[in-house]
């Protein structure tokens, strides 16, 4: 009988005698561990698996078979920019000259890494339209924290500490969480009927206690803030700064730049925009680009270039300090560099053009089956509402998403943004061919027909995945967050 793909733990494979990689033979005198460690030697070894290499290879191959990635198929997860990642980027970050270097090596022995990082800093600054860049943040949300702390330090240095940060109601959940971490009060800005920031409401909220506004542009509805210049001007008028959440940068590359729109700071999710595989949740990297006025406050180190062409690590004069150890997620940054160099300026711009064309095309094809709540030209993503299916047939967007799995597609982002009822946020990206988009649209329309004909078919979906709908309530009620050996369980 065939074993299920998942469920059997690595701890349950192999036998007590199984070994894979053993320690090298000891070529120095052995030490008495307890005395070497000052009486702290471990008495009970950790119950790690006992497996051979073939057990490991097969175990993880089975797990991989139960996983869906971009290389498996279409992954239109809105706001996540799940594009195909060129394999050369993977190859590059594994080169020994990058992978086997230590962060505390003398700068003279890592000029290649530093040159690459310096060029990346410059390139990201050009794409952002903002002159100063730190590569240190490890992820988008980490970049938000860095950017907002930089803004905070700027206000403090000017003797003008402020209390509030404005965040639109369509914002990513990380934005309000970041604002709170930075010690500011979160004030929500409503959206208008066109899906942009409500200008009148914004004006009502702006005063000299506002430190910044945090905007995603294009926003999480996939819409460009048409009034962006008015918004940033109004924000600057009260002495506040404008922060851009760069999650949706893929849509505007080479067409417009956050700096040109009046933003003072931006984080760049290089893992989204500049093609790094998402690794099942990370690592990513979230470099931050800022204006000259904010540059002295960036976390260090950044890469400096001397007149003789040499590269070094320098800490900005009024730096907020570090936001993590070492320089940043260099492995991820190498991939981003390779990607940008492959495309060049023209290719980077083409990315945005095709991402936007693909989104508008797919929206046009799907609009008959699913209402488009904010019906305008979209940028790289768009939001549909499943509210009609719910009202007419009792089929929820969650059911539609689960049914998509049976057809071999990863579902879009669902129930976000929060301001759209039964939301489905679809981001096709530039790396999908027209054939894929057409097939996806066809399947979504077929699912809409299924909803009408047999709602229960959708309520029961998926049927073809390694496991079906999981009991999330039980996972909370009886938490099982780690395997323990039988003897522990008995004790």
């Amino acid at each position: 009988m065939r074993e299920p793909l998942t469920g059997t733990l690595i701890f349950e494979r192999g036998s007590a005698e199984s070994r894979c990689v053993e320690a090298p033979a000891l070529d120095v005198p052995s030490v008495d561990l307890d005395s070497a460690l000052g009486g702290r030697a471990r008495t009970v070894l950790p119950a790690l698996p006992h497996v051979t290499e073939v057990d490991i290879a097969r175990h993880y191959e089975r797990l991989a078979s139960a996983n869906f990635g971009v290389d498996s198929g279409f992954y239109p997860l809105g706001s996540c920019t799940m594009k195909y990642n060129p394999k050369i980027d993977e190859w590059a970050c594994r080169l020994p000259g990058f992978a086997l270097t230590h962060p505390y090596q003398p700068a003279s022995t890592v000029q290649g890494v530093l040159e690459l990082m310096w060029t990346l800093q410059e390139s990201l600054g050009e794409i952002a339209g903002l002159p100063a860049v730190t590569l240190q943040p490890a992820a988008g949300a980490h970049g938000e924290l860095t950017g907002l702390l930089t803004i905070r330090a700027y206000h403090t240095a000017n003797g003008d500490p402020r209390k509030r940060v404005l965040v639109p109601d369509s914002a990513h959940g990380t934005n309000p969480a970041t604002v709170a971490m930075c010690g500011y009060e979160v004030v929500q800005v409503p959206s208008d009927e066109r899906g942009g920031v409500d200008l009148a409401a914004l004006r009502g909220l702006l005063d000299t206690d506002v430190a910044a506004i945090m905007l995603t542009n294009p926003n999480t509805l996939g819409l460009f803030e048409e009034n962006i210049l008015t918004i940033t001007a109004a924000v600057h008028e009260v002495g506040a700064l404008a922060y851009c959440d760069g999650a949706n940068l893929n849509a505007i590359l080479g067409k417009t730049r956050p700096g040109d729109m009046g933003f003072d700071a931006l984080h760049i999710n290089v893992h989204k925009t500049f093609a790094t595989p998402h690794g099942g949740g990370g690592p990513g990297a979230g470099p931050v680009a800022v204006t000259d006025a904010l540059a002295p406050f960036l976390p260090g180190p950044v890469i400096g270039r001397a007149e003789d062409g040499g590269f070094s690590l320098v800490t900005p004069e009024l730096s907020i300090g570090r936001v993590r150890s070492f320089l940043g997620n260099v492995g991820v940054l190498v991939r981003a560099y390779a990607y940008i160099r492959a495309l060049g300026g023209s290719g980077v711009t083409e990315v945005a053009e095709q991402a936007v064309l693909s989104a508008n095309y797919l929206k046009e094809v799907l609009r008959e089956a699913f209402p488009v709540p904010y019906d305008r030209i979209c940028k790289h993503e768009f939001v549909l509402s499943g509210s009609a299916l719910r009202k007419e047939y009792g089929v929820r967007t969650l059911d539609v998403a689960k049914r998509l799995l049976d057809y071999g597609f990863h579902p879009p982002t669902i129930y976000f943004p929060l301001i759209v009822d039964e939301a489905m946020m679809i981001e096709p990206t530039e790396t999908e061919g027209k054939g894929t988009l057409d097939r996806f649209a066809e399947v979504l329309m077929r699912i809409a027909e299924e909803a009408a004909a047999d709602p229960d078919l959708l309520h029961g979906a998926p049927y073809s995945t390694p496991v079906r709908r999981l009991d999330e309530a039980a996972a909370v009620k009886q938490p099982d967050l780690a395997w323990r050996p039988a003897e522990d369980a008995e004790a």
Binding site: R42, V51, D71, L77, P86, T109, G254, G280, G345, R468
Partner: protein, 445 residues
């Protein structure tokens, strides 16, 4: 190079279907004044052949750990990475997947996280581990914020024996909030128990230490745990996961939150990143823990399956009330750690740790016997140790780089108080021949 599969003919068809004449019409909503009216000033595109040669030349412009004998540590270590680790994490189904928001097609990622959490709990002796933080430094900073949430107190005591970059990261994280950090000087390379006791008061949420410390020495965690708990505070410990193969885990001494830099578990050094933030706590504090956690459950057919759970603490649900803003984490490095710990197993990890400890003690004794160095601290150490150099450290290091050695870390770069101190890390990759050659070079200085 172009990574777009859409043909010109397809583009024309798509534009017609949308009802616009050109792609530029799709950017009509971008105000004229905000448009970039020129091409991006980036280098010219490169074909794959040229690009690979270019990247190789940048890579070769660096001296890597295979070119020299390196004794550099300080939070990033030259451990052996078994070949099977890269084979597993290179599987596209793992590395091209996103956060497992659709568990039915993410069981591979979810089960791997659950197994990682299990192994980390075994290693640290703690009850709960999350799916990862960015690195050891951010895990340490988040531990301080968590300790304040748990105890409803607003100050933490941090020993200066903790890695300076971890302390700097913590300082940045709390800068804007209501939490304050009191740094307490160490003694003999360790946390100073008496000095910490003197600072303890009923506003202190946690005593935060590292064992091994930045200097490689091992603290008396038992005394620190008692001290913290008597005052109603938590004990937060940063540790080294390889050393836990032979060292009693911090949980034994009553640690409440244990964090670590997990890079030694199967991730390459990569000039310091990405690393792996290991984060663990007691079950009682689960709801205050930052980050994701995977749990085991069943599906509608009764089959075992895995989901992300306790997400009611997280930013996508609680927004400004979330326990943390972390979203993308270091899942692929966590996967690498799971494969690494499976590959070495309990005996392998013990053997590796034992080799590190034995070689470090061998080198320490040999360097002291050259007369060029003396012991900086009396405390026991694991596989990293600090020595006082009798001479100019920078000059010594320059000379030895030229002879093929990264001769430890000059601690004066971190604190003027540590002038003359050199920190050496000795992993299982160093051979006796390398150590003897290095001692020979030192003797000849």
């Amino acid at each position: 190079m172009r990574f777009i599969p859409v043909t010109c003919e397809d583009q024309a068809h798509m534009l017609a279907r949308v009802g616009v004449g050109s792609v530029d019409d799709l950017f009509a909503d971008v105000p004229e004044d905000a448009r970039l009216a020129r091409p991006l000033a980036l280098p010219e595109p490169m074909g794959e052949v040229e690009l690979s040669a270019h990247l190789m030349s940048l890579a070769k412009a660096n001296t890597d750990a295979s070119d020299v004998v390196s004794f550099l540590g300080g939070g990033c270590y030259d451990h052996y990475v078994p070949a099977v680790v890269d084979a597993v994490i290179s599987k596209p189904a793992f590395f091209t997947a996103y956060t497992p928001y659709q568990p039915e097609v993410s069981q591979g990622t979810l089960q791997a996280i659950y197994e990682y959490q299990s192994m980390i709990c075994q290693l640290t002796g703690m009850e709960v581990a999350n799916a990862s933080m960015y690195d050891g430094a951010t895990a340490f900073a988040e531990a301080a914020l968590m300790a304040c949430r748990v105890t409803k107190r607003q100050r933490v005591l941090v020993s200066q024996s903790v890695h300076p970059e971890w302390r700097q990261t913590l300082a940045t994280y709390v800068e804007a909030g209501t939490v304050t950090v009191t740094e307490v000087a160490g003694a003999d390379g360790l946390a100073d128990v008496e000095a910490l006791a003197a600072e303890l008061a009923d506003d202190v949420a946690a005593i935060m230490v590292a064992s091994p410390t930045f200097y490689g020495t091992l603290d008396d965690l038992g005394a620190l745990g008692e001290l913290a708990h008597e005052a109603g505070a938590l004990l937060v410990v940063g540790t080294n996961p390889i050393l836990l193969g032979v060292m009693e885990p911090p949980a034994t001494y009553g640690a409440d939150i244990v964090v670590a830099e997990g890079q030694p578990l199967g991730s390459p050094m990569s000039y310091g990143g990405p690393g792996l933030g290991v984060f663990t706590c007691r079950q009682a504090h689960l709801r205050q823990m930052p980050g994701r956690v995977a749990g085991r459950t069943t599906d509608v057919d009764g089959k075992t399956g895995f989901v992300l759970t306790f997400s009611t603490r997280e930013q996508h649900i609680r927004r400004e009330k979330a326990t943390s803003n972390i979203c993308s984490n270091h899942a692929l490095n966590a996967l690498a750690a799971g494969v690494y710990l499976s590959a070495v197993g309990r005996e392998g990890l013990r053997g590796i740790a034992e080799a590190c400890v034995a070689k470090a003690h061998y080198l320490e004794a040999a360097l002291v016997s050259t007369g060029r160095f003396e012991r900086a601290f009396a405390a026991p150490f694991g596989y990293e140790f600090a020595l006082q150099y009798r001479g100019d450290v920078a000059e010594m290091q320059r000379t030895l780089v030229a002879r093929g050695f990264f001769a430890g870390l000059d601690l004066a770069a971190f604190s003027p108080d540590d002038a003359g101190l050199v920190l050496f890390a000795v992993t299982e990759k160093r051979t006796r021949a390398e150590l003897d050659r290095f001692v020979g070079e030192v003797s000849a200085l």
